[in-house]
Symmetry: D2
Subunit: 349 residues, 4 copies
């Protein structure tokens, strides 16, 4: 499966190293054994380690022109070295799209590189907040007939016109905003729901996230918008909105590098008004948390493209925070059904 990537950050470092990590592991296991940290070893017939990186785009001079193997270890990237034996990829990082005086530069070159490399999927993984770039890469992707996966919160798959264009062209478009493998929000929401299921009454709750990668440095400045959407996702009804506080980036703690730490507190009221309190600390490798989901999104995209199934694929909905048509009521069950059903449908077409 031939993958192009836009933005050679920690997520790509995690993805590339992980593919080789699992290749070594898979060689020692039977074909039906589970892989640690992997939801589904095969999706649409594609194994985790069937991924080959065939093109890469970035704007950082220190990364352009280097082999992908070197580029993923170039600062400010600080994802750990997993110790897997990653060979030179034979793929040099190409200069990505830029914005100059309000105009996007590099469109023709990116399209040419996508075509030359025979990429099946383009993974859009630039820093959060560059709406223009997400749109511009989507145009390249469409023109080159390459499926697009948008990991970021930028609006791409949710834009009706863009989605229609991909559908009409028979090119898959998967997005927007990947749901982390084990994000703070899902843990928080799970605990708040458990309380509600058991009949306890929420008194107050807070969630703080901090870490040492570029995301936390960026978020520290402009985390406002993200905050409200996170609160909405947690509150079970408007009455709870005032009881919950979320701080998406409580601090940039450099030595944490690509680790993310989240602190949760839930105070509830039990029988007779007596208190229940719950404190949780969650520590994850932030980009592993993304790569563990990216691996499924890109395989869904590739499988759909091979079946010439254009536009959004509902099997990806549970893996996204903002899919174009929303979520199923029961996410866990819905995820299973969708993956089974839709991939079968894909295969059947």
């Amino acid at each position: 499966m031939r993958l192009a990537v836009a933005g050679i950050g920690n997520n790509i470092s995690a993805l590339l190293q992980g593919v080789y990590f699992y290749r070594e592991l898979a060689a020692r296991l039977g074909p039906d054994d589970g892989l640690p940290g992997i939801r589904r070893r095969y999706i649409g017939g594609l194994a985790v380690d069937d991924v080959a990186l065939v093109a890469g785009f970035d704007v950082l001079p220190a990364k352009i022109g280097r082999d992908l193997r070197e580029a993923v270890f170039t600062p400010p990237n600080n994802y750990p070295n997993l110790g897997a034996d990653v060979p030179a990829q034979g793929v040099k990082v190409a200069g990505g799209l830029t914005l100059e005086d309000g105009e996007v530069r590099g469109h023709a070159e990116v399209v040419a590189e996508l075509r030359r490399s025979k990429a099946e999927v383009l993974l859009y993984s630039l820093p959060t907040g560059l709406q223009w770039a997400a749109e511009a890469y989507a145009r390249c992707s469409l023109e080159a007939g390459v499926a697009l996966v948008n990991c970021t919160p930028e609006i791409v798959a949710r834009d009706p016109q863009t989605l229609a264009a991909f559908e009409n062209a028979g090119v898959p478009l998967i997005g927007d905003d990947l749901a982390s493998h084990l994000g703070t929000s899902v843990v928080h929401r799970t605990l708040l729901r458990l309380l509600q299921d058991r009949g306890l009454t929420l008194a107050s709750s807070y969630q703080l996230n901090f870490g040492g990668n570029e995301d936390f440095r960026n978020l520290l400045q402009n985390g406002g918008a993200k905050l409200q959407s996170k609160k909405n996702a947690l509150a079970q009804g408007p009455a709870e909105l005032d009881l919950i506080e979320v701080v998406p980036s409580a601090g940039y703690i450099r030595h944490l590098k690509d680790n993310k730490v989240a602190i949760l507190n839930v105070e509830a009221i039990g029988w007779g008004g007596t208190p229940v309190s719950l404190d949780l600390k969650l520590k994850v490798q932030d980009s592993s948390n993304a790569a563990g989901v990216i691996i499924d999104l890109i395989r869904i995209a590739a499988a759909a493209r091979r079946q010439e199934f254009g536009g959004f694929n509902a099997a990806a909905a549970p893996l996204l925070k903002s899919p174009p048509f929303g979520h199923w009521p029961d996410e866990a069950a819905g995820a299973e059904a969708a993956l089974e059903g839709l991939l079968t449908r894909v295969a059947a077409e």
Copy 2:
């Protein structure tokens, strides 16, 4: 709703005080408002504060002969004073059943007291481990035609002969072993399931519980049996059994009084073998955690008895750790359906 109680410990202190706490609160609310810490304000037409304690049994000389209001504050009871205005109940604690030279004493007196008091339900709430007492109170209950609720892990409802006898007599029998309002196990299980749902691989996990009431003092000595059943309840398949350790009573910390603290740790493996770790501290008022469920169990028992619906009532299954016919696959949904359906059935008969 007329309730008799066997064992005037912290659970009964929580129950009695809580009933008056909610009575005061309900007087200030509309009839459809939710009550904090209460799953269902009404069950089978019975409100939380419709409960009247009409008989009580204990063997502690310091409690026998005292009004229930005084008995619930007598050491070693150490549940906090909720500040509700609890009037004298006009009910003196009677001497409970005893075991002398292998023979149960007091059967006739207990039956007589149950009849005299016109109790509808007998709540069995003695310290854990007295199988003889659970059986003996069940016999009293059956003879007096009073519904029985068994909060403890002793085998009563799970005994086919006992259950058949209650069924034949048209007397409800609800048990065994109440599932805490928010127990450590349900929190632990919820987190382990979340990991599995998301495709993370469990590496190891432990759970330690400690507190300052008599349960923790007792458990410290003989916690062995309980431990294995708790591990079974948590592991998702036998492979995980070795990865999980549970310590039901890690310490008797006197000054915690009736509070229970649980420490959970979960270490998991994510993408590329990178670690995910989760530490949780849960603090609850232990007997509130029981009373919040007892209030539902006794109302189910009373509602069933008023409908002359003998034996076990499936609406109680989700509120019990060991119901006679096991659990539904989806507990949360099952609980709702059961409560709705069965109480309707109760009401319809």
Copy 3:
């Protein structure tokens, strides 16, 4: 002891309520019993509850003109009600100094009120960051011959000219910046020193503080300067500076009200390079943390004034973050010696 206060925030709420709390408590104790939460029951002959508030200044219309008892409970103040029986003080809050077009207004009125009220000490307790106000109240204080205590980081006692003016006038000047009763920094520093004493090597450490009072809302915007000084205070030598991260305001969590929560993490290296890790959560009532030190500072100021001992009093140094002449090498021992020695000297003069 007659006290005037500038800025009727949570600190003053804590101080006023606390004085009555301890008055009630002291009435039930012997004269030599310790008081909970109090370092020294008597300083220079003054008991904790010898304090009387005789004047108060604020600029908030909702507070001006109200009795101090009402003003301390006026939003955005959110210090809890301690339940002590605080009578009306018979003191109306007066309008404080203001800055209009670069000019301070209200000097004459404040001086007149200080004189009229026969205040011995003026406690300066405005929000952090108003250097002009700190200077302007110092001028009022000096003119009225009232001792000044500066709780805030503004530069007052550290300004040589200001200090000289107070010395020459025989008026005490105590500041700057009170050291919290149990601040995050002292806990953090104590743990880092312990590691060093034991021969463990620091690998990394972070500290995040968050809370729900106005300080956290303000700090969120302009916490930069405070951060570096805190890092300096923690590092044992420049090599450690890069290993420690401090976030003075990681979040404004409204429902925490006047509580402050701090999260500390210390990672160290032990024998054979094996890791040692330490996670700490500290929760304090933020303004109690200030009032517990203010009570000593104002008594030192009053005692010094009664002895006509002008300028800075070294007995206060250990209670301040930035005293004019720095700290003793051994703070704990120095504090004791200073308090004993200097108050004796005060008394002797």
Copy 4:
């Protein structure tokens, strides 16, 4: 420096691996650089990596006859492999002393092995609770003229007759009971003292320890005696004894292996009776925590023996929980002075 060891458990695994770990590290550093996790690179002229294991005793058949390098990795030992390149030591583990029908067997053989190996120091490191073994190895040590270090709580150096015998023979005797490099008690005590220094009042505190090595399995059964001594060490006066609970072994959590986790809670009272609470989690490699102190004790013992300085050496007092003549009032300062002064005295003799 030639070292014999009795009991080839995790402590010896940590010690042996650590010596090679630091040898590799020291080769890359200047002679005056600090070593991570090491208090003093040189003691009495001996470097950390000057230690050579020349004899070893154990009673486990799986360990006897094996080279020390293999023995330290033999179960139930579960200290991690530090990755240092540890060569075969050329030393086979000899059978240790045994107790048969109340009589100690193997004395002559142990003495002979100590002499043959030209050991300077014998490190006694058997499981806690074998008083007979501690005494018997002390007799061997004395007869062979080898300095003894007792890491365990058994009474050896505190026995006046034993101590006198070593003194008279000019053989060093260092003990009893090593103080961990960073033990739970010292962290707990440091925090309780800090509270007291700041004038906060202790309300309650608890400490739970758990882990996965043999010590925790053993302690779980017979932790009673240790508990009271730990409470005594923490309480600042008898009034606090009732407020503090310590559980030395709250659980044997197998998968923690040689890691120890401690949970501390401190609840205190601040100004106006408002609460201060502090929760701490400490995680250490248990045997590294011992080896980091053993390395100093054995060097002190060897340095003393080379100077023919018999009996106890006060430089070791701060590194022991129960030295024969107690502790200095100021441990930290005392430790420095003792080490400097006494080693100088040693060197001067």
